[in-house]
């Protein structure tokens, strides 16, 4: 059985910027897969290559065994993409938008499924409203709907909950989870790491166009036993500079191995007469793992793409 998504040695540059430099990935059918990375890591470029919106310099990609360039019709039929940008066609209503999109895929008499999409996305009441009149969150829902009109076995969501209110986010995830349970493969990029932690069974982390981590969510979480302290101070003692995972306007994120180290940190601050304005401790969650990996703290050999999926 072919993989839902197979990416082999994909590279792409834009001018002097190497957006992707040799990415390998394999996502099995039925997986809920997370693609994480900071802005500019290459997530959207990779998705664009899968969708045929961008061409790669080298390597190839397949959707359910169909090459995205040489067999693009079958590949695109198997793929539904929710783009990151909030785009819409102001000439049409919600229902027209969905029915036209469905037609582009060669589908006729698709109204029953379109009604179901409208229902699940809570858009039934807005079906005949013009796209222009919708709020940002509603436009986002229509984009999700457009990606689903042809019942694609593989669904890619590029930051689908950006700018979406909490209530909708919950109902959207309930719907996506249902689709995943029904057998759809889901690939998700998101900035909300708790979302990825809650939803994804396996995660790839991209940094500067490379896969720097690829593992099950469980394994990634257990990779770091330590904790993270978030501390607001004017400066840090020199001995602690190297422990900074991230700095954000006077807020330092430091990786600690044990609770005992917290005592050492406090002592060092007291010795230098540095006042603590704010302090918080966090157990390892995906965000801490993400921060540590992006800070380059964890540089194990990247495990080869694995198709072993834990029982979800």
């Amino acid at each position: 059985m072919p993989a839902a998504v197979e990416v082999v040695d994909i590279a792409r540059h834009f001018g002097s910027v190497q957006a992707l430099s040799g990415v390998d990935l394999e996502v099995a059918e039925g997986e809920f897969f997370g693609l994480l990375g900071p802005n500019g890591a290459g997530k959207t470029t990779l998705i664009s290559i899968l969708a045929g919106l961008t061409r790669s310099d080298r390597g190839f990609a397949r959707i359910l065994g169909h090459d995205v360039v040489t067999d693009y019709r079958a590949a695109r039929r198997a793929l539904g993409v929710v783009p990151q940008e909030l785009v819409f066609d102001p000439f049409f209503s919600v229902r027209e938008t969905l029915s036209i999109q469905s037609g582009y895929f060669g589908l006729r008499n698709n109204d029953a499924w379109i009604d179901e999409i409208l229902h699940h996305l809570d858009l039934t009441g807005k079906a005949d409203a013009n796209m222009r009149s919708l709020s940002g969150g509603m436009k986002r829902r229509v984009l999700v709907g457009q990606a689903l009109v042809h019942k694609p076995p593989v669904i890619v969501l590029d930051e689908p909950t950006a700018g979406v209110d909490v209530e909708l986010r919950q109902s959207l995830w309930a719907f996506i989870r249902k689709l995943n349970r029904d057998g759809h493969t889901i690939i998700l990029t998101t900035h909300y790491l708790e979302e990825a932690e809650a939803l994804c069974t396996r995660i790839a982390m991209l940094k500067a166009g490379r896969v720097v981590a690829l593992d099950t969510t469980q394994n990634l979480l257990s990779r770091f036993q330590g904790l993270t302290v978030r501390i607001a101070v004017s400066r840090l003692p020199p001995s602690w500079q190297a422990r900074v995972l991230r700095e954000d306007s006077g807020m330092f994120y430091l990786g600690l191995d044990t609770y005992g180290e917290l005592e050492t940190l406090l002592a060092a601050l007291r010795a230098e007469n540095i006042a603590i304005r704010e302090l918080a401790l966090a157990e390892t969650d995906l965000e801490q793992v993400f921060l540590r990996i992006m800070a380059g703290e964890d540089t194990p050999a990247i495990p080869p793409p694995s198709l072993e999926v834990p029982e979800a």
Binding site: G52, L53, R73, R76, D89, F92, L107, Q146, K151
Partner: protein
């Protein structure tokens, strides 16, 4: 699954979308150009009817003007349709809805060009109907098949040119420049408002390098059986130009130039 997948339905949907797009704003896309053409006719015929003789006086100037204005409207609106649809979709980003589905370059080409042809021909027909009133002595169209052939080929050619311009332009002002500095001068200098036989010899020669001249002149031959260039020759030139531009457009779409980065 209840839905039925129909081959060919994809590009027909894109064509339907293209038609719906201009139909929803038909006041601007159909009524406005018809009014513009009518104004040209009223003003030019009033000002020049008594002063200009065309085809050695065998055709009244106002009658001469009508097919020119009809064809000019067909051409300009065919160009406007494909080019503005594409640039709007590119700039707002909703072109992605067309790029994600399994539509081939030929299907995208066919839908945009046919949509442009329909808009051009509807506007042309509208101009013809409202200007008929100015042609009480038009009892028969001399060669209707020629007129239809030129209208179809001309609208196709400008539809393709609009597609290419829409793919090329990144901003609205680039497209406007294409329209104002290429399309409009070529149409106005093509003999819509005059017979090129009235021009000095040098400008007659120059006019023969303007493809729009053959479209206007050939279409007019369909009406009166009179023309400045042999109509079969004009038809061949227009057809060749349409084929050439078609190859260019298909090449650009296949490469994904400016569309699939």
């Amino acid at each position: 699954m209840t839905h039925i997948e129909v081959s060919g339905h994809g590009w027909l949907t894109l064509l339907y979308k293209e038609l719906l797009r201009f139909w929803k704003v038909s006041f601007q896309t159909i009524a406005a150009p018809v009014l513009t053409a009518l104004l040209y006719l009223v003003i030019f015929s009033h000002a020049l009817e008594a002063h200009v003789a065309v085809f050695d006086g065998r055709v009244r100037y106002t009658a001469f003007l009508v097919p020119g204005l009809v064809m000019m409207s067909v051409l300009q609106n065919a160009f406007a349709n494909s080019s503005s649809s594409l640039i709007q979709s590119k700039i707002t980003g909703n072109l992605i809805f067309v790029l994600l589905p399994p539509l081939s370059p030929l299907e995208i080409f066919g839908a945009y060009v046919l949509g442009a042809m329909v808009r051009g021909l509807i506007v042309g027909l509208g101009v013809f109907v409202v200007t008929l009133w100015f042609l009480p002595d038009l009892h028969a169209i001399a060669h209707p098949l020629y007129a239809i052939a030129f209208a179809l080929l001309g609208s196709a050619l400008l539809g393709v040119l609009g597609l290419i311009a829409g793919i090329w332009a990144d901003k609205f002002d680039q497209l406007a420049a294409f329209q104002n500095f290429i399309i409009v001068p070529l149409t106005f200098l093509s003999g819509v408002f005059y017979s090129i036989q009235t021009l000095p010899p040098f400008w007659q020669v120059v006019s023969h390098f303007n493809p729009f001249f053959y479209m206007i002149d050939g279409f007019r031959y369909g009406f009166f059986g009179l023309s400045d260039a042999p109509p079969a020759w004009s038809l061949a030139i227009v057809a060749a130009a349409a084929c050439g531009l078609t190859l260019v457009a298909l090449g650009l779409l296949s490469r994904g130039w400016k569309l699939r980065h």
